[in-house]
Symmetry: C2
Subunit: 485 residues, 2 copies
């Protein structure tokens, strides 16, 4: 498998340090509010990467942290008159709820920053002893950027460029404007921990250096997170760990792209964020997964309702075909039959293409594309009664069905029983469009009665009335079906 | 209010250190398994104490910790191949679920031990500097019991008596068998934190000394927990804090009694524990609350199914009377009427007695007793049509109803809308006794039809059939009601 490595700015063949095992650290949320779709993207991307490693037979140790002490948490706690831990507990629980709905598997280990303070202090002491950090008179500890040679290598910035325009803010006791805080002395109304420099709390970057090293060995096979974390967060993490340990921090740096709303960067400060909860009021969770995974993980994604509707349509088509396929395979087959010669190689090619797409820097968009082409082929086969009953064709269809199950287990798409999904989808769409399903049932009953009484003019009028409230009716051998237009 | 103080072995008038404010620290669970009814008792007792303080107009800061690093957690984590934090997170979430069902209000602050390691280390350093603790060659830190004068004052044990028969276990590097661990050096496969004595983890007692002092000022107004914690846990907490700070640790020590099952101490090691979840499969949460609160908090409680059935019956009677009372008060009243002269003083006496009972060392059993006497009186009044419509009587009944609301808000009993509770109770009892409620509905329908057809012989046979499956039928002006016998 090839992965784009932010460090080398190219796709590289990924092989783990220790054969058969992958250690992956991904920066998780700062638990001070509900997650928005930017968080959903990062979580889903690394969920799929971990699932894909697992699919390839690798034993993955996946560590995703929670930042549970931070300015934003403190601010919110003081505003609500609660302890920081109450705020972070609340939003960690909400994160788990959201992720469960989105089908994001729990990481192997999900450590919290506050449980690792002594390790952060030990790292700071180490850095001070080596001359890579210093203590200020107020008891802050800063990392001395110019004392570390590799600074800037991850984000591709030069220290000289960074220094241009950088200033020390009033009240800061740094030696150099580029230096960043490892430890901050306690202000009133802040949670604090005892340290050799008095009471204080850790800077943000140091927590990931401490937790990654605690649960995984250095160098990490993969360090992941959103693109917005490359600088300064990941640059600083790497500088800290490498200066303190003399070891390389991470072999592969994998970063997912931004989510924009109508082409603006999606972030809390822009005020245009949509929480996952907001979205799941309107759409099924799998639709959001599909929307996000039909874009390559490094591309920026523009979140629009049109794009969500499009994802919903694609997912519906997938499930409708799988439903038809399941019904066909459960039904009668003729005694014999040989599949057309071209069919097997064609299906095999799509299966192979799926893997190639995933191996090519986790190109889920291309992988889903191959799934769609195969769905098209399956529909073509199923619409032909001779083919549908042909025993040879059915062997191939059954294999294809198994591929969809396998792909579903990696992507988290198309894994529900199709009738169940399609029912939920109809209910969800009806709710979104304000359709009164009780009224629909009533009109359908009346129409059924009209048809039984051979009053076709009434039954047509009822069909029109249903169409007027955006309900489409189809009479099939299995009975009357309806759907939201 | 008077509270029994374990420290002085007598009931004392409780006044908070700072007028109008109470700081209370209660030892919470070690998060390695589901909670049993012993945990439920402690949680409910201190929930009621906090609610009662609030009722008295005091501003309560209630701290209840979680022990999230400990031998038992480590053992379970290693057995399941998970990180300790995953085990403790799981059981903390389960605790919150159980407590929510039992109506236990969240504490003001619910800190976890692992978030306070630096403070524990600082306490150890303090104790070492003062000669109250020492470091062993392997990097353990022990509290030197004989260097602290007041040791034994809480549990009423003398150091000499304790020393008789005490031995140092092989491999332990203590100076004196009574000394206890403040900090334990790390063994392989254990979570660890950096410390001045190498990697290790805190002893159990030190966490409460650190967390109580962080969130409350010394001396604590109240330190609470189960009686089983008096020695050694609370004795050691007090010794540590008082030796380190020179301040008194807690002014009032409040301990709840054990829960026994058929007169054996209820604890995990005896293997006879019942989880809260087990019990709530069979009984409504409010029944368990009622069962526990009809005993004084310091008495041992014997958990038996008969006692639970009894509590259920009492609670049913409470809600039935409240339901009748609500219906009466919502119905017609006559134009005038003066209450019998004796009625008001009698009701007032019960209300006063309720407060006196609560003020007398939180005697919830006696308080509930007063509520039952008042219920009896109310039933008597309601059964008299003249009284029921008498405007003067109704004023008193309305006041009594308000008292039940107030008492409910303190005890967490009798607070649901009565019809809702009674419906849930019937469903719960039907389920427990394996009664098929669909069949009940069917037989009731048939019986109704029989009565409409004046076939009273059939309707009687149906009533008998219902009785045979433990269903009692009552024909009332509001229609036919049924209940589980």
């Amino acid at each position: 498998m090839h992965l784009y490595n932010t460090l080398t700015r190219q796709k590289e063949l990924f092989t783990p340090k220790e054969p058969g095992k992958v250690g992956m650290y991904v920066c998780g949320i700062t638990a001070y509010d509900y997650c928005h779709i930017g968080h959903a993207r990062s979580a889903i991307v690394f969920d799929v990467l971990a699932r894909y490693f697992d699919h390839l037979g690798l034993d993955v140790t996946f560590v995703r942290n929670f930042t549970d002490v931070d300015d934003k948490i403190i601010h919110r706690a003081n505003k609500e008159g609660l302890a920081c831990a109450q705020i972070s507990d609340r939003y960690i629980a909400a994160f788990h709820e959201d992720m469960a709905r989105l089908g994001v598997v729990r990481a192997t280990i999900e450590p919290k920053a506050t449980g690792h303070i002594t390790r952060m202090i030990a790292l700071c002491e180490h850095l001070i002893a080596k001359g890579n950090a210093y203590v200020t008179p107020s008891g802050d500890v800063y990392f001395r950027v110019r004392a570390f040679d590799g600074y800037g290598k991850l984000s591709g910035r030069s220290v000289d460029d960074l220094r241009t325009g950088a200033r020390i803010a009033p009240g800061e006791e740094k030696d150099d404007p580029l230096d960043f805080a490892l430890w901050k002395s306690a202000k009133p109304d802040e949670p604090f921990w005892e340290s050799p420099w008095g009471r204080g709390r850790p800077g943000w970057h140091i927590e990931c250096s401490a937790m990654s090293e605690q649960y995984l060995s250095l160098p990490l096979d993969i360090h992941g997170g959103g693109q917005d974390l490359i600088f300064p967060h990941h640059e600083n993490e790497a500088a800290q760990t490498e200066a303190a340990t003399g070891k390389e921090f991470a072999r592969f740096w994998v970063h997912n792209g931004f989510v924009q709303i109508n082409a603006e960067k999606m972030s809390k400060s822009l005020g245009n964020f949509k929480t996952i909860r907001d979205i799941l009021e309107q759409y099924l969770p799998e639709v959001l997964r599909t929307f996000l995974l039909t874009r390559h993980y490094r591309s920026p994604v523009d979140f629009t309702l049109d794009a969500m509707d499009e994802a919903e349509k694609n997912l519906k088509r997938l499930y409708e075909t799988l439903s038809l396929l399941d019904d066909t395979l459960a039904g009668e087959q003729s005694k014999g039959g040989v599949a057309p010669e071209a069919l097997k190689p064609e299906i095999d090619a799509y299966v192979k293409n799926w893997s190639s797409a995933m191996d090519d820097d986790l190109n889920t968009a291309a992988a889903i594309g191959q799934m769609n082409v195969l769905l098209h082929l399956i529909n073509r086969v199923l619409s032909d009664k001779g083919m549908r009953k042909n025993a040879g064709v059915r062997i191939l269809l059954r294999e294809a069905r198994n591929s969809f199950k396998e792909w579903g287990s990696v992507l988290g798409i198309g894994i529900l029983p199709p009738p169940e999904f399609l029912h939920s989808l109809r209910e969800c769409r009806a709710k979104r469009k304000g359709i009164d399903t009780a009224l629909v049932q009533k009109l359908l009953q009346e129409r059924l009665l009209a048809k039984q009484n051979k009053d076709f003019s009434l039954s047509d009028r009822l069909r029109d009335r249903l169409a007027a409230i955006h309900v489409e009716v189809r009479d099939t051998p299995q009975g009357t079906l309806w759907d939201v237009l």
